[in-house]
Amino acid sequence: MAEQAHKTGTSSWEPRIVAFLCRWCSYAGADLAGVSRISYPPTTRVILVPCSSRISPYHILKALIEGADGVLVSGCHPGDCHYLTGNLLARRRFILLKRLLAYLGIEEARVKFSWISASEGEEFAQLIREVTEEVRAIGPFHGFLREVPGEETHDG
């Protein structure tokens, strides 16, 4: 829809962030932010998943390819996982991915992992603010293995 406006890098550009949230903690944290009316930037599009371990590198890269400027994956804190240890399994998978992406020259801020619990509404809002700010600072995502066009800067 607003694809062009999104990608032109004009001052009105706002990042678009896909957030994969686990049902039991992080999605509940987002709900709590809502119930508590804590304002945060309208940049995220939430995809509800059962557990952070449901997320593979496929989803993260695909989200970026399909137009996201940043991806957030959030699960329960260690110990809180509804599925006992899914988040710990995910943690391993993600650190490797995170390192490989950084090595290949992808800005670290593009992909973010976090733990948010059901009682952390304010923390959730703060996380979205931070992620938005960080992605805003590095600018739109133009696709993998593509040169960043022009001398535009995105100072946020």
Binding site: P42, V46, I47, H59, L89
Partner: protein
Amino acid sequence: MVRLKRLTVNFLVVGGGISGMQAALDMAEMGLKVVLAEATPSIGGHMAQLDKTFPTNDCSMCILSPKMVACGRDPMIDIRTLTEVLEVKGKPGRYEILLREAPRKVDPRKCLGCGACAKACPTERPGTFDEELVTAKAIDRPFPQAYPNAYAIDETVCIRCGKCVEACPAGAIDLDAEETFLYLKAEGIVWAGGYRLGNIDALTQYGYRQFEDVITSLEMERFLSSSGPTGGKLLVPSTGKEPERIAFLQCVGSRDVRFGRPYCSSVCCTYAIKEALLAKEHCSGTVATRIFYMDIRTQGKGFERYYMRAEREGVEFIRSRVFRVTKGGAQLVLTYSPETGGVREEAFDLVVLSVGMVPQTHSSLETAFPRRGPYGYFRQIPDQILEAQGCVAIGATACPRDIPESVVSAGGAALQVASLARTRESRVVPPPVRWDERNTAGTPPRIGVFVCHCGTNIASVVAVKEVREFAKTLPNVVYAGELLYACSEDSQATIQKMIDKHDLNRVIVASCSPRTHAPLFQETIHQKGLNPALFEMANIRDQCSWVHSDAPREATEKAKELVAMAVAKVRTHRPLIPQTLEVNHKALVIGGGLAGLSAALGIARKGFGVTLVEQADRLGGMAIHHRQFWDGRPVAPFLEALEAAVRGNDLVTVRTATRITDLSGYKGNFEATFHGENGETKGTFGAVIIATGANEWQPKGMYGFGQDERILTQTALSDLIEQSPERLKRLRRIVMIQCVGSRTEERPYCSRVCCTHAIQNALALNQIAPEAQIVIAYRDIRTYGLREDLYRTAREKGILFVRYDPERPPEVAVPEDREITRPIPVRLYDPILETTFEVPAQMVVLAAATVPLETNRELAQMAKVTLDPDGFFLEAHAKLRPVDCAMEGVFLAGTAQGPKDMGETIEQAFAAAARACGILSKQALEGEASVAEVDTSRCAGCGLCELVCPFHAITIDDSKQVSVVNAALCKGCGACVASCRNGALHLPNTDDAQMVDMLKALNG
């Protein structure tokens, strides 16, 4: 006019804290109908107030909230808030109870939880949920996760101005609503009133209420909580700055004879450690945290490690009782006497009082309870399990205790009273009704989108009409409409009408959170023959209007995209029908000690078959070595009666001298292979209880153990006291050494029972040989809870307690010649007096550690359960699932799970039995609707999924070289799907293809 409702249920549970909730849930699992009466507007109790829980630092609300929702959803549980018991009549099996339900004045079915009423309300009152640290309005919801999730009016302060009625967009408020009386017929009552912090106003020396910066431990919890009055920022109330020095004062109103509360509150040491650790986490600077204590009592599972961690992380522990707290400048000054003598003063910014627990009282209920323990507690006694009970008190009303112990007591009580219901209720509960579903296979998706205004909650920010019009343009959407309140009754009718009118086969509601509302809408479409899985929500309230009210345009765009994503996803949803699994209605209990016997009795009395397997050729386990329960009741007659009851029950098959050689299967259907006198046999069971016990460590080489028979363990001493007390008559000097092999690097846990055991034996020796001098060398005396009375008695009787540091343990010099008349010199270093003295002992008694069985590993592998780092069986969750295993259908009882005393063992055995009966009570079990599926054409059988599955739900079929998902075990987490390189695993309706569709929709 008085409104009176008559209800007949199986049981009444009074108190909606974690204990009451768990008791209600366990009874509901057994197919019994329960009224859960709670005096406040929401269930949840104290646990809802806590920030984190020890020793794992889990978020309290995160683990509690699913339980609250489960209680709310369970059709067998009728939750009555603002309700009190007025009168109880009758006897076990036939109680008549009168209850009063105060008017909430807000209809929970209509209340949207939007908070407009509270905003409009002019009347303020102290907010009880936040320990009165902030004010709340007369109309209020105690906390966002409350259940019922609705506001309530506090009648006592409401001025009936009517502002809330005007403000309420849903018409949910009725100021003239009146109280209702409930006339209840029930078979039994569970009293789960919980505790309150004791009133410490008389303890003026601590400066509470006098100085703002002296706070209670519960106030501290609220300060630490991110939903608390400071949003999780720990600030000194008087200055608003982060504290640099925090003091925790232990035993405030506990272990205090003069104050009338001589008992130990059991939980304060560990919660103070938790709060100190969290304070360090919360404060950006380096905060000094000092805990002033008498004995550190970290006797629970994992607590000692927690204590050691706190020491490592710099929490300081000072063994001293603080005399007084005064003000010195901006700071608080503590005056105390350190162990080394003298008087010291020290300044702190914040003082946290670890205030002791007091049981809740309820005069109109108490008459129904036959037994009442000391200090207002309704302590349970072991004999009670020998017959079904009509009234049981649980949780912190029974004795001071922590959450897992409360949960255990709840399960135990559930079975105690549930046994009454056996004859009247059909034993096995049929699965819930399913509506006839129409076959949607092969028909193209016809999606209906319903966009909710939520009054003005959504519509004031999001342009609902625009979202609706946009939805119409999306593929396969054949209808899009608006609803004022999607969750209201008339909206359900509208949705159903539109399903008919437009022949919808998929429904999307764009409103609030699927976590709270999906079940409602799914039921709505199910009634119209649509499988509940053909539904999706877009959360445009919690994720749009409520959080982007300052950006309505963006909120609307976002709402549109969320709807587009939901449409993209639901298009390929397919109906899901949870698998039903036949249940075998027999249980297997492994281990014939106290735990196994108790569990077997509990299950049999509920009417289910039990096979009790014991490796030895007799029953009774370690209990035969114990003389007394901690309260002095003799063990032998009880054990005899218990064994007789078990052996005499036709439903129990006892198999001694039998070992389990194989165990396979899953919840509802386990298969065990036994090896016994009759060779190898097999059996099928619906549930398994592991009650294999633990051992007393034989401390060879420590303190001369094994070199002189006068150096013996406490258990050996118990046997002597029981069997040949005359041999002890002439003893004049006895030294007991505590923590032998416990609380060490090798075994960083407390064995929990040894302090009480030693003191009991010391008191018995004192009776046998009154002139004997008994010295107990200890590190911390851990006579937790009501056991503190024993400690006090022992000191009164002149038993000498000498503390030792682990760095300078007692030295026992075994005499060279084994002349029995020659005493054994024991050298003790007293860190208080800083001197060493020698006791020429005639007997040295070692409190040896409780150690796990070496065979645990083998059994754990067979049962697919896990051991903790110390080698005991690991529970599914330290707090809320203390008798469950990660492997469903396997439960833990007794010391197999960790050190505990006999009363605790019996209670846990009953809790495990209750959980097992929850499974056995069902005709069939329903699995998860969305479980992983294998595309065998793609599967290479590499086994990765098998390894990553936390529930052991996947195995590799070696003959076909493909993985097989056991739908009975799968919980639908999707870890396997994300791990599979081959793309062979799928999670229906959260599948990769659907996630790609959603991402593509995002791109428009």
